[in-house]
Amino acid sequence: MTIIQIKKIEDCFDGSMIYEIIFNSPVTRPLLDYFAGLGALQYYNFTRPFYKITVLGKYELQGILNESQLKIILARDNPLQFLEEFKIKFKNWQ
């Protein structure tokens, strides 16, 4: 499983650092559990379950289980370093 695209997206606030990360296959439960190990998981068990993983002071991941993309909201100090850190963490899972 690899990242096929990382796209900057925006919200209503200047200086926000948010990216959409698109994988070549869906974020399944084992991967989600691995991500959850990086920080604190909020899991909403809807028909299409929503997850949010908070890695304190660094980044937040948000997405839907079994979809191929997630949103990463980076802390404002050193955001690109935290993005790199996430990419390495993801690589380590494989």
Binding site: C12, Y44, N45, F46, R48, F50, E67
Partner: protein
């Protein structure tokens, strides 16, 4: 998919909008203003219908532009000079605030912003307090695009006229949904977007001017007539309309107004009832804050809320991705109101059109209930 983002752009459009736009694109192009020998009635018939719909003093004072944003920029740049004092409100959209901020920096206009209540109501007294000798313009929304609260615009108009100022009403959120009578309401400038409650396409906006309000033209260019004049011809409407118009947009606006004229009254009544019921149900969900006063005052059908423990953006994504309900979250391009709502990061906004059903509203309430239940 349930669409509850009608305050941004209404969807779906009535069938006649699609039919008329299609016919227009397939028909021979029209040349506005020129010889009537193959006259489609565009855009002058739509000008007349618009003047009729909003009770504008004359069809020639109905100006078609690409957006309400363009209209606001055009009027503000065309009207204001260094030293002019302008009063606006905390409700306003960036389409009004940003040109004013730029004019403050570039042209030294003086800007005052009236506060609002925690439900987005601007007390006319708070406007009155700000009036100065140099006040040239009071510019205010008819209805907040965040809380839906309708303002006492006739009072604003009176304050403006008592101080020798113009009253500009931004009715982008209300036009087509709440009755507007430009002359009776005392508007010198009425601005609105075509793609919201009027069911036109994106890319069409309108401003209407009273007879005595004469901004300088904002853009100039080809007019098809009087081409020998070195600058823009001085008569309305062409003094304010240069270049090729979005004729498909104008046709869509026409079809939208015809739809509302024929079916609007009943549909709007049902929409308001649905909104009030939904707002009441939303308020009754523990852990949810609703930013409207559904019991008092007139409301556009915009329901802003927050689930207390969640950032609005997260609620928005959950509703869209887990529940197939499209709402909008954040500041809604109105950056100043949220301080008064005590929602500095914004709200989740569910906005209704006449095409939304009870089942859409039930799905929203059910989803929010579901989310709040999951938090516990």
């Amino acid at each position: 998919m349930i669409y509850l983002n009608n305050a941004a752009t209404s969807w779906p459009k009535p069938e006649e909008v699609l039919v008329q736009v299609n016919r227009h694109i397939c028909d021979l192009p029209v040349t506005p203003y020129r010889s009537a020998l193959h006259n489609s009635g565009l855009p002058d018939d739509v000008r007349k219908q618009t003047a009729d719909f909003f009770h504008v003093h004359s069809a020639d004072s109905v100006i078609f532009v690409p957006s309400a944003t363009f209209a606001l920029n055009a009027v503000l740049y065309g009207l204001l000079n260094a030293g002019d004092h302008i009063i606006t409100t905390a409700l306003e959209h960036n389409s009004l605030l940003r040109p004013l901020k730029t004019l403050e920096r570039e042209k030294n206009i003086i800007l005052d912003i009236a506060p609002c209540s925690s439900t987005g109501f601007v007390h006319p007294g708070d406007i009155q307090k700000l009036v100065k000798n140099s006040t040239r313009l009071i510019a205010a929304s008819h209805a907040s695009n965040v809380t839906g609260r309708v303002q006492e615009i006739q009072a604003f108009a009176r304050i403006a006229h008592n101080s020798g100022a113009y009253f500009l009403c931004d009715a982008s959120q209300s036009a087509g949904s709440i009755f507007i009578d430009m002359q009776n309401d005392g508007m010198d400038i009425l601005v609105f977007a075509g793609h919201k409650n009027l069911f036109g396409l994106q890319g069409i906006g309108v401003y209407c001017l009273s007879e005595n309000c004469r901004p300088r033209p904002f853009i100039s260019g080809g007019t098809g007539i009087k081409s020998d004049l070195p600058e823009q011809p001085p008569e309305r409407p062409i003094i304010y309309e240069a270049g090729t118009q979005n004729t498909a947009g104008i046709v869509s606006l026409q079809a939208g107004m015809e739809f509302l004229k024929r079916k609007g009254q009943n549909l709007l009544l049902s929409k308001n009832t649905l909104f009030k019921e939904t707002a009441a149900k939303m308020k009754s969900i523990p852990g949810v804050t609703v930013y409207c006063e559904q019991d008092t005052g007139l409301h556009e059908t915009v329901l802003s809320f927050n689930i207390e423990k969640l950032p609005c953006d997260q609620t928005g994504i959950m509703l869209e991705r887990s529940f197939d309900i499209i709402v909008r979250s954040g500041l809604h391009c109105a950056p100043l109101i949220h301080k008064y709502l005590n929602a500095p990061r914004g709200t989740v906004r569910a906005s209704f059109s006449v095409f939304n059903t009870e089942s859409d509203a039930a799905a929203l309430i059910n989803a929010v209930q579901n989310i709040t239940d999951s938090i516990k």
